[in-house]
């Protein structure tokens, strides 16, 4: 796999440089860190929102930094959770005294690093709360394991918690609505080709010409089942089926996200969307809003995920609230 990079070991630094120069009016980099914050951070009186994780999921997470969404995003090395010292810098940079909420995707590494940062921040007198997103229904939610993974549904947590913080919600209120989103959001994905970590130089797994990986993670980790490539309609059916088995969406108002994993043409995402919408209509669900595009990618992996979020009036209002984040303008 060819990469348009300079040095595989420096991709994160180079990317951050390119990101900050692209959006100089809205974001800034904390010097000597891989932390991107709102230019106006800390926002006086506002609860600070910090998320992040390994790099390679762009536009996540820095693309969601902006008014109405995150205050800071911490970028780790590719597919590697950022370290506690970096997360701590982010927390300190966005805390205005109203406390900070960490939005963590449920991976052992992310949880441990963010937790350690939270402990350090609390030791410095900052109020920190955290929520852990685990929307991926591909993985069983068992108390004997580390549980389900966090994938594209995380973007809805950023958006809605961000809107709550922006309108002045307290740390507990922001945390509560983030948890409400987490309870009501489910996702699942499929990959038709692997991705290559720049420093690894070879694909994370191999797929035959007629195979796909169902229940794929967003780090090139293998999915849960390998099978013959199916049609867009079949894929839409399988992913939504799995989601409905996990959470009952009957008669709900839902937000839909069809997320490209990196290399999938937008054309294909729309084709999948067409079927997803038909399925939801069939089942009597009411689609409130649809998002089609790349929101939580896995480098140049081909494939997509489907995310459904059950909405009540509060969530609708917060989903619709303005955001100036480069990757989620609304």
């Amino acid at each position: 796999m060819k990469k348009i990079v300079n040095d595989p070991e420096r991709v994160v630094q180079d990317m951050i440089q390119g990101l900050v120069t692209a959006h100089p009016g809205s974001v800034k980099q904390l010097p000597d860190t891989t932390v991107i914050t709102r230019k106006d951070a800390p926002v006086s009186g506002k609860v600070g929102l910090v998320s992040g994780g390994g790099s390679g999921h762009e536009p996540a997470h820095a693309g969601y930094v902006g008014k109405g969404m995150l205050d800071a995003a911490v970028a780790g090395e590719v597919f590697t959770s950022p370290t506690p010292d970096q997360v701590l810098e982010a927390i300190k940079a966005v805390d205005s005294g109203a406390g900070v909420l960490l939005i963590i995707k449920n991976y052992t590494g992310d949880v441990m690093n963010f937790e350690m940062a939270a402990e350090m921040a609390e030791a410095e007198g900052i109020q920190v709360e955290k929520v852990v997103v685990n929307d991926d229904v591909a993985v069983e939610d068992s108390s004997f394991t580390s549980g389900r993974r966090g994938i594209a549904g995380t973007v809805f947590v950023h958006k809605i918690a961000g809107a709550m913080a922006e309108k002045g919600g307290s740390l507990q209120e922001v945390k509560a609505v983030a948890e409400k989103v987490i309870r009501n959001v489910r996702s699942m994905g499929v990959a038709t080709s692997p991705c290559t970590v720049p420093a690894a130089g070879k694909p994370s797994f191999e797929l035959a010409d007629d195979e796909m990986e169902v229940g794929i993670g967003i780090h090139g980790e293998p999915g849960i089942e390998r099978k013959k490539v199916a049609t867009a309609d079949e894929i839409a059916g399988e992913l939504t089926d799995k989601i409905f088995t996990d959470l009952d969406f009957a008669n709900s108002d839902v937000a839909v996200m069809i997320n490209g994993l990196g290399a999938t043409p937008e054309m294909e995402l729309y084709i999948v969307n067409g079927k997803v919408q038909a399925i939801l209509a069939d089942q009597g669900m009411n689609v409130y809003k649809t998002f089609v595009g790349e929101f939580m990618t896995s480098l140049e992996m081909a494939g997509c995920s489907v995310t459904l979020l059950k909405l009540d009036n509060q969530l609708k209002e917060l989903l619709d609230a303005p955001s100036t984040a480069p990757a989620f303008y609304s």
């Binding site: 780790g76 590697t80 370290t83 991976y107 970590v197 993670g217």
Partner: protein, 206 residues
């Protein structure tokens, strides 16, 4: 070896770094099979930084070496391995603090380290993680009463190899369930290199 000294600690880290750099790709490939393919990259980056750090410092106590190792790994490795290795060395450092590290103290340090790793990772022996290797080494240290390089090497190796046959229930490999069987756990392999290096230092003596 009677007392584990600063020079031993340095040699340990140097040997570990060499092994990790040499095995960077192997570790990454193991992680590609059942994880996300970054373990070798992360460990290599971390231990390279450890060497840079140690080479620039002078130390009075082993505890101080362990602390710098801990802090460096914690802030340079990331992922799951960073906090776990970081915690392990931090616990060693805390246990050793200001003291000469004889066999009982080393063993005490390892007890704290393993407890710390288990707590940080919410994991137990048998979940196909580096806890398997660390716990096995600890157990033999507890059963014995003097440093024994060969025993440590054999123990670490057996525990590492044993991860191949188990099913992962923690870490990224857990998502694969049965499909994780038949693959070595990358963190256990890097831990094996760590104890293999320590065993070498022990056998060479002072």
């Amino acid at each position: 070896m009677e007392i584990f000294q600063v020079e031993h600690a340095r040699k340990w880290m140097k040997a570990t770094n060499e092994r990790i750099q040499e095995k960077k790709q192997e570790l990454t490939e193991l992680d590609q099979a059942i994880g996300d393919g970054d373990h070798g990259i992360n460990m290599a980056r971390g231990f390279r930084e450890v060497m840079t750090k140690l080479d620039g410092e002078t130390y009075q106590h082993v505890a101080d070496v362990m602390k710098d190792v801990a802090m460096t790994l914690m802030s340079k490795v990331g992922g799951a391995a960073g906090p776990l290795y970081g915690t392990a060395f931090l616990k060693l450092s805390m246990a050793f603090k200001g003291q000469d590290v004889d066999y009982p103290l080393f063993t005490k340090g390892m007890e704290d380290a393993v407890a710390g790793v288990k707590q940080r990772g919410k994991s137990e022996v048998g979940e196909k993680t580096l806890v398997d290797v660390w716990s096995a080494v600890l157990e033999k240290l507890q059963e014995n009463d003097h440093f024994d390089g060969s025993l440590m090497l054999d123990t670490a190796k057996a525990a590492m190899e044993n991860t191949k046959e188990t099913m992962a229930t923690k870490g990224r490999a857990a998502y694969l369930k049965e499909r994780s069987i038949g693959h070595l756990d990358p963190g256990s392999v890097s831990s094996f290199y760590l104890f293999e290096s320590l065993a070498g230092v022990i056998r060479e003596g002072v």
